[in-house]
Amino acid sequence: MNAPKKVLVVDDDPVIRHSFDRVLAGKGYVVISAENGQEALNKVAAEEYDAVFTDIRMPGVDGIEVAEQLRVKRPWTPVVIITGYGSPENQARAAAAGVRGFLHKPLTPESIEKSVEAAVTAPAVADQPAPMPRPEEEPEEPKERSVTVFFKDVAMFLAAPFIGLAYIALFPIIGLLLLIWNGGRALRQRVLPG
């Protein structure tokens, strides 16, 4: 049986840290979290990790600084930056720090699992970080539309307020169902841990 892979998640937002924990629980990973860059560096100095996932913006030592220091101290540890849109300056710094890639927000359970799996299994490719998407690089909207697309767009446009009203009527039911669903999941995890 393979030893569980250790993943360090560095983010000042507890929601992000818990997301990793929740998604990776019972899938062969041990998730350890740190609230800031300094805490992460202390933890990495104390033990080995199979991958480090870090936010960029944090008080004190930021995520790229964590990556820069790890590149010197633990060059074999893959570092993945958790980010929304990256500025050119941060992209250049991240490239220089040799990060393994970027995990783009908003996070989904699939994106977390896929990214962690890729980070802990793929061979190191330092200096070749995945490109950061920037808002300027968003695909330009097409200037022309086919007649079918035009009518589809207009139909959706005209249907929007009625769909909206239907949603407003459904919201209390959706809220209740989500509450039952999430409550059930939490209860199941508590009763049957792992």
Partner: protein
């Protein structure tokens, strides 16, 4: 900060004509409705102003409608087809407006060229612009010349029904307009979004924090 061009010129012109027009319609409407209690304008003058401003708003609505219909930007008014996703987005945004903003939490919504409205805005604007405003314009036209449109008015249940619908939506707008103006002040500075509605450019952080979800 980086500038993102999100409000095109026709939309900005439409927006300010609509904003000023709607405020004037509400004020003249109050004068018409509460003649005797409020006497800022003579009744006939208030009716004439109300009719003319209403005609401008109807024309302006068609400028807005056509400018979106013949642009791919029409998609900013498309509905979210996943009700759970919309529900989560609305709840997240409502929590931010009612609590997070006072604690300095980041806005869960991030603007892009293809996502101009947050989930709450999107839902509200779809209903206001594509349902309430057209109904208000339509009932306003019917009430403008009752004798000319008497057959349509009768078909709809009579003057009382048409007038009740018109006044009902007027009351919704009386609450909606100040709320809309207040939410417009919730940028990084109170005038940020107002300025954007003149220049067309919204400012977004270079490295914006994205939605905290998963």
């Amino acid at each position: 900060m980086r500038k993102l061009y999100v409000h095109q010129l026709p939309i900005r012109i439409w927006h300010w004509i609509n904003a000023i027009g709607c405020v004037l319609l509400v004020l003249t409407g109050i004068q018409i409705r509460y003649v005797g209690l409020i006497d800022v304008l003579p009744f006939r003058t208030a009716v004439i102003y109300h009719d003319w401003i209403g005609a401008i708003i109807v024309g302006n609505f068609f400028v807005w409608l056509l400018s979106y219909m013949f642009s791919v930007r029409i998609r900013v008014y498309h509905p979210e087809l996943d009700p759970i996703e919309l529900f989560r987005g609305c709840v997240r945004q409502a929590i931010y407006y009612s609590y997070g903003i006072f604690k300095g939490a980041p806005n869960p919504f991030h603007l892009s060229r293809t996502r101009k409205f947050n989930p709450l805005q999107s839902l509200t604007y779809q209903i206001v612009m594509l349902l309430l405003l057209p109904i208000q314009c339509f009932t306003g036209i019917l009430l403008w010349d009752l004798s000319r449109f008497s057959r349509v008015v009768d078909m709809l249940g009579g003057v009382r029904v048409v007038d009740t619908v018109h006044v009902g939506i007027f009351i919704i707008f009386v609450f909606y307009i100040p709320f809309h103006a207040y939410l417009g002040t919730l940028g990084r500075t109170p005038l940020e979004h107002y300025k954007a509605m003149f220049t067309g450019y919204e400012e977004v952080p270079e490295d914006q924090e994205a939605e905290k979800s998963a």
